[in-house]
């Protein structure tokens, strides 16, 4: 329940933040990498660093991460299939062999079918996802955004910050 409230909070927090739709969309796209690919891999350090260092919505990044984790789990068989076909493709063998024998690169676990498959999937998804999200956020703010901000539901969700404070200090 708490996780759900947190998710709704971060969703509204991101949607009603001062960031531009592009910043929010970019944040969610970077977060989607964290959610879609297995977390403990070297490339995700760079993704996280980018999320922190680039002027994109950090809240959006966290939202993207949370939203895409279950999708990542669901699509693991697809990632495995994509990675398997890419890694064992005859035409790419020299490329992978050279990467595999280059310092540091193997530490990214690119030679794992799920890691490579999910990364390639996230990469292909990134551009359309960015444009769709940017358009959707802008549309939301133009149409129902202000009404939502004035709604009781929004105030109730925002009020649950009290609960967060309680959680923080409870014994």
């Amino acid at each position: 329940m708490f996780a759900l409230i947190k998710l709704i909070q971060s969703l509204f927090g991101a949607l009603h933040s001062e960031g531009t739709p592009g910043q929010l969309a970019a944040g969610i796209v970077l977060g989607s990498f964290l959610g879609l690919t297995p977390l403990f891999n070297l490339h995700n350090i760079f993704i996280f660093a980018a999320l922190v260092l680039l002027n994109v919505s950090f809240a959006g990044g966290m939202l993207g991460w949370v939203l895409f984790v279950p999708i990542g789990f669901l699509l693991d068989p697809l990632f495995d299939w994509i990675g398997h076909h890419l890694l064992l493709a005859e035409s790419l063998r020299d490329f992978w062999t050279s990467l595999y024998n280059t310092p540091i690169v193997p530490l990214t676990n690119f030679n794992n079918t799920v890691v490579l498959g999910s990364f390639v999937f996230a990469l292909l998804l990134a551009v359309p996802l960015f444009f769709v999200l940017r358009w959707a956020v802008a549309r939301y703010r133009m149409t129902v955004g202000e009404r939502v901000r004035q709604s009781k539901f929004y105030r109730a969700v925002t009020a649950s910050k009290v609960y967060n404070v309680y959680k923080m200090f409870r014994p």
């Binding site: 531009t20 910043q23 297995p38 403990f40 660093a49 922190v52 260092l53 680039l54 002027n55 990542g72 789990f73 693991d76 068989p77 990632f79 495995d80 990675g83 398997h84 890694l87 064992l88 063998r93 992978w96 062999t97 050279s98 990467l99 595999y100 024998n101 280059t102 310092p103 540091i104 193997p106 530490l107 676990n109 030679n111 794992n112 079918t113 799920v114 890691v115 498959g117």
Partner: protein
């Protein structure tokens, strides 16, 4: 409005996060490495790998492992080995390529086959991963051997289950009878088509005319000559029919002989229904010792096959199961490259270990392992292992450098007290005592040659509780109880997927002789009884058929002989009347 791309104020917190990460690594590196090593080791070997303590010294490139325990993948409460301490000298540069190159390992205090309190098998229970698949394959391989079971538990000889419908002689006899009838009809038809009656009648008339004719009666003389010619032609036809009849008779006689061989097959079939004890010495050896001999072969093959999976020849990309995690493991694909380092290489390991660790005076031995690698084609040399000591000689060579891998290994260990075991099929236990055990395996491509031998001079035999009810067990007890020398040898050879197993022992002859002496008469009596029963079922059907066939033969031959005699007689009389 210009949007800034970088959030420079985040650099500070990110650096702090990085420092915290480094600190956490510094504090927990040993624990993380220990857990990862346990996890990877367990996954690789298919048995629990436990490490008490692991310390990584990055400055010196050393890893020290204390209290290493590797459980047996085959036995629930046994360890494969334990080591007091392992110190590995690691080459640090290849780690940046995620390659583990160990220049040297010094292992101290190795112990083998020690007991454990928990079940350490992983692959045997889950069947997952490469180890699980190899274990399942070797188990299936071991199950192919059909070990003859000594069906001697009661010594009872039983022939109740003989079903007359399954005897071949009765339908064969019926078929022969039908064949005889068919032959008789065919011969009669052929005989009728000869039309000998008119020929004989005209010849008789010509003879009569010659008797009353004058010597100058040319017409009568011509009639006589023509009658002789007709008789000759008729005789030729009779001769042809005779040949046909003889051929038919030969077939019928062959059928009769076939009935005898069918009867012998029925005897064999009926004998197979009996629970007769085997009196063949090699079969007894296989029945007594093959189950125990297959296990070492199975384990040696498991090791060899595991080595082949983890150390495959060639430089093609190869996939292995990925690391276990919450997400799907996937597969890790390795891409070996010529003149590059392999993903794993242990250049040299010096081992010191104990045999008889629980005895008062444990014996210390030393061994050396070189060139253990995940890509033998890159390393270019085979993996070798050797160990020696006062009562031990062991060696192995895994040559996966070329396309067809060749694995050879062997060990001879003396003074090992083997556990007593139940002799299959009979209520006896054999305690080999302190024995010399020998195991050798050569796996050349898909051809296997293996030897397992146990030699002991202090073997002891024990009766089991169920002994009182077993006649055959008693016989075997009489045969073997006085034998203290034990010499068992099992050999395996041929194609790996279906090799031949041969087991011999010094007990074979003793047991076989004893069984033959005591059971020989019983067996002979049972076999006679069985033959009598088969005869009783068959003779009622076969006797009339035999008589019928004989009658058809006699009848056919007699008819031919009679007609031929008449033709000959008339021809002779006519020739006498002609000048």
């Amino acid at each position: 409005m210009k949007i800034k791309i970088f959030r420079w104020r985040a650099v500070g917190p990110l650096l702090v996060l990085f420092v915290i990460g480094c600190l956490l690594w510094w504090v927990f590196a040993d624990t993380i490495l220990r857990r990862e090593s346990q996890k990877v080791g367990t996954q690789l070997l298919g048995a629990k790998v436990e490490i008490q303590d692991l310390h990584l010294d990055l400055k010196r490139g050393d890893v020290t492992i204390r209290g290493l325990t590797i459980a047996s993948p085959h036995e629930a409460f046994k360890n494969l080995l334990q080591a007091d301490e392992l110190v590995a000298d690691i080459d640090m540069i290849p780690l940046t390529e995620k390659k583990l190159v160990v220049d040297r390992i010094v292992a101290k205090g190795l112990r083998f086959g020690t007991p454990r309190t928990t079940d350490g098998r992983v692959a045997a229970k889950s069947g997952d991963g490469i180890a699980g698949r190899v274990l399942a394959e070797t188990r299936e391989w071991a199950s192919q051997f059909q070990i003859p079971v000594l069906q001697l538990a009661t010594g009872k000889i039983n022939i109740d289950s003989l079903d007359p419908r399954r005897l071949s002689t009765i339908p064969a006899a019926a078929a022969l009878s039908a064949q005889a009838d068919s032959s008789r009809r065919a011969w009669q038809a052929a005989y009728d088509s000869l039309r000998l009656g008119p020929t004989l009648d005209s010849a008789s008339a010509a003879l009569e005319r010659l008797r009353h004719a004058r010597a100058t009666d040319l017409a009568a003389l011509n009639d006589g000559r023509q009658a002789i010619n007709r008789l000759k032609r008729a005789r030729d036809r009779v001769t042809a029919l005779d040949r046909s009849v003889k051929s038919g008779i030969t077939q019928l006689q062959t059928g009769l002989a076939g009935l005898d061989s069918t009867r012998r097959r029925d005897y064999a079939f009926a004998r197979s229904l009996l629970k007769l004890p085997s009196l063949d010495a090699p079969e007894i050896g296989a029945a007594l010792f093959a189950p125990g001999a297959i296990k070492p072969f199975e384990r040696a093959l498991y090791c060899a096959q595991l080595a082949r999976r983890y150390m495959p020849p060639g430089l093609l990309p190869r996939a292995t199961t990925g690391p276990s995690r919450v997400r799907r493991a996937g597969e890790d694909v390795r891409f070996p490259k010529e003149r590059a380092l392999p993903a794993f290489l242990l250049r040299s390991a010096e081992l010191s270990f104990l045999l008889h660790p629980t005895s008062d005076q444990p014996q210390q031995y030393a061994g050396r392992l070189t060139g253990l690698t995940s890509e033998p084609a890159l390393y270019g040399r085979p993996t070798t292992f050797r160990a020696s000591g006062p009562q031990l000689a062991a060696g192995a060579l895994l040559d996966h450098v070329r396309g067809i891998p060749v694995d050879t290994g062997g060990a001879t260990v003396g003074g090992i007290t083997l556990p007593a075991f139940q002799v299959p099929g009979v209520p006896l236990r054999l305690d080999p005592g302190a024995a010399t055990t020998q195991l050798g395996l050569t796996l050349n491509g898909d051809t296997i040659h293996a030897l397992f031998a146990i030699r002991s001079t202090h073997a002891r035999w024990m009766r089991d509780s169920g002994f009182a009810n077993s006649t055959i067990g008693d016989l075997i007890w009489q045969a073997v109880s006085g034998i203290s020398n034990l010499d068992v040898e099992a050999r395996l050879s041929g194609a790996l997927h279906h090799p031949d197993l041969a087991v011999r022992s010094n007990l074979d002859q003793a047991v076989a002789s004893r069984l033959r002496a005591v059971l020989g008469e019983q067996v002979a009596a049972a076999e006679k009884q069985m033959r009598d029963r088969v005869d009783a079922l068959i003779n009622d059907k076969v006797g009339p058929v035999r008589a019928h066939v004989n009658e058809v033969q006699t009848q056919g031959q007699a008819q031919i002989a009679q007609q031929r005699a008449r033709l000959d007689d008339l021809q002779k009389q006519l020739e006498q009347r002609l000048p």
